[in-house]
Symmetry: C2
Subunit: 354 residues, 2 copies
Amino acid sequence: MEHNQRIIFTNDVPAAINEALDGIDYNRLFVLTDTNTAHFVLPRLAGNEHIAGADKITIKAGDMNKTIEAAGEVWRELVAGGGTRKSVLLNLGGGMVTDLGGFAASTFKRGIRFINVPTTLLSAVDAAVGGKTGVNYRGLKNEIGVFSEADAVIISTCFFSTLPLAEVKSGFAEMLKHGLLKGSDTYNRLLAYDFESRDYEHLLTLLRESVEVKAEIVRQDPQEHGLRRALNLGHTVGHAFESYAMSHKSPIPHGHAVAWGMVVELTLSNMLCGFPGTQVQEYAQFVLENYGAYHITCKDYDALLALMRHDKKSEHGELNFTLLAGVGDVRINISATDDDLRSAFDIYRDLLHI
Amino acid sequence: MEHNQRIIFTNDVPAAINEALDGIDYNRLFVLTDTNTAHFVLPRLAGNEHIAGADKITIKAGDMNKTIEAAGEVWRELVAGGGTRKSVLLNLGGGMVTDLGGFAASTFKRGIRFINVPTTLLSAVDAAVGGKTGVNYRGLKNEIGVFSEADAVIISTCFFSTLPLAEVKSGFAEMLKHGLLKGSDTYNRLLAYDFESRDYEHLLTLLRESVEVKAEIVRQDPQEHGLRRALNLGHTVGHAFESYAMSHKSPIPHGHAVAWGMVVELTLSNMLCGFPGTQVQEYAQFVLENYGAYHITCKDYDALLALMRHDKKSEHGELNFTLLAGVGDVRINISATDDDLRSAFDIYRDLLHI
């Protein structure tokens, strides 16, 4: 990652696309969408002359299609369209499109430039910044990929008005995480956000602040040797909830899993790092009101512990967490025992009235 | 490429493997070979305890097997063997194995460390250093790949004693190229080398000097924005010879193609950059004695020009070359007309008595 990534926050995406491309000496533009964004988003950008003149590549929507075979389709289209090392791939879609498109671009002729235009809040806040690209492989999420930053990321809330509210909330959970990592001012502004208002102008301001938290962490530790693990807050338990729900054929949105996972991990933070109990309660209340609860019983604990142990981020079998001593006061690599986790699950159920 | 790559020149490969691995905090070693090196080379390292305890992965030998599917086999074995981000892949083989293994490692879990142990002179001098990894795709050479440097490269001539002399000569052509780029002292030591002596101790000294020329160029321009193009000397014409021979079903070794290609490109250097004519003759004489000649007639010129135009390094259809104004005096991005090339081919045929 030799260059500084440009992040453009805007209400005028076509103008931002011009801004991103006018500074680049490129010979051919390819636009990658999935079957959803090809239908619902691409037409809204058809008036932009860069987009109008570009080769379009469409892949099937859905995380189950984030495969090496789909990356192969992108490579094939790049070859067929005469792509060279001076070509640019613009990824227009959610995290599945930006992850896969980023990987395909970064491996085509040993790397061409790419631009991410995330169309969901989750991808805007999470997947579009930070240089993590990849595809799933044999059932393992993001098993094949590279670290490679987009040349530019264009972030706008204008696409969100047509999204279901649940999808906006899913992305908002990652913003809450960034707020918890950053400090009280940022965090409190997020707790005050009213989803029912659908005030996407204000959301763009909050989103900018949130993305900048992540960008700063990634800048300091691009390849996740230490500090970047802060971004795992809520994700060890969250991924276990997500996998567990999936294994019972009733999948839950990623962001919701993280929101619930953070209830457990803030409880652990309270137990192991002195995170204030009143703030655990305040956070749990916000989650209960906006996300409801993921129902578990004590009979589920063993399975959840086993899932966490299989998580690729745990080494040598111990369970390591990113925890907080307070809002904005991060502790990485804190190990917790199985008993700690069982207690935290008990408290989680109390807090969310399960 | 954030770290400095270690290059270990040695007559004791097992000791060098210990040196490379003892400095690394790793949890599991995988050794990649092809069907040839599994049989002929791996047994010679069986006494090394790192190697003895490693998981072995074997892929089919040959450039036609340098595919994304073969990379998939490596990923599958890494998953099956419990590979994590702290695992290491040791690539033991020629350029096909180091290119493919480097790509598989660099994309597994967004990149694990890898060590290259090249077993041919060509891979030692060319493919093992410089961070170019990749696989062929739909008939296009190295179309899919990344720039990613090995954690360590172990270079030894001890494997070469069992190689056919033609294969040693093929690798030596890349050393000649590095000599021409570096300067008269290096270059003259190479012209004085006697293949019949099979003095591999002396060859290791020359090889070290040669690899360091390449490593220094790559250090200055890892992603081939400018200076690194110097390494293309001889390759524009050489690749055309190689493809042309392949299309007539009588393939020629890569290094031989480069040796002959440099006769044409040094002739162009003489015509366009004032490279001394006596040195063109001296070089052509060395090539004729050690490599013979690749036979072409004026009826082949059009096809060779067309092949060069299709070479991925030529943009907008013009033909650009790395040329020399003298030994060690490099000029990149020199464009030549079709008539220049036709004249150079004529002179090539004179020089090599065709």
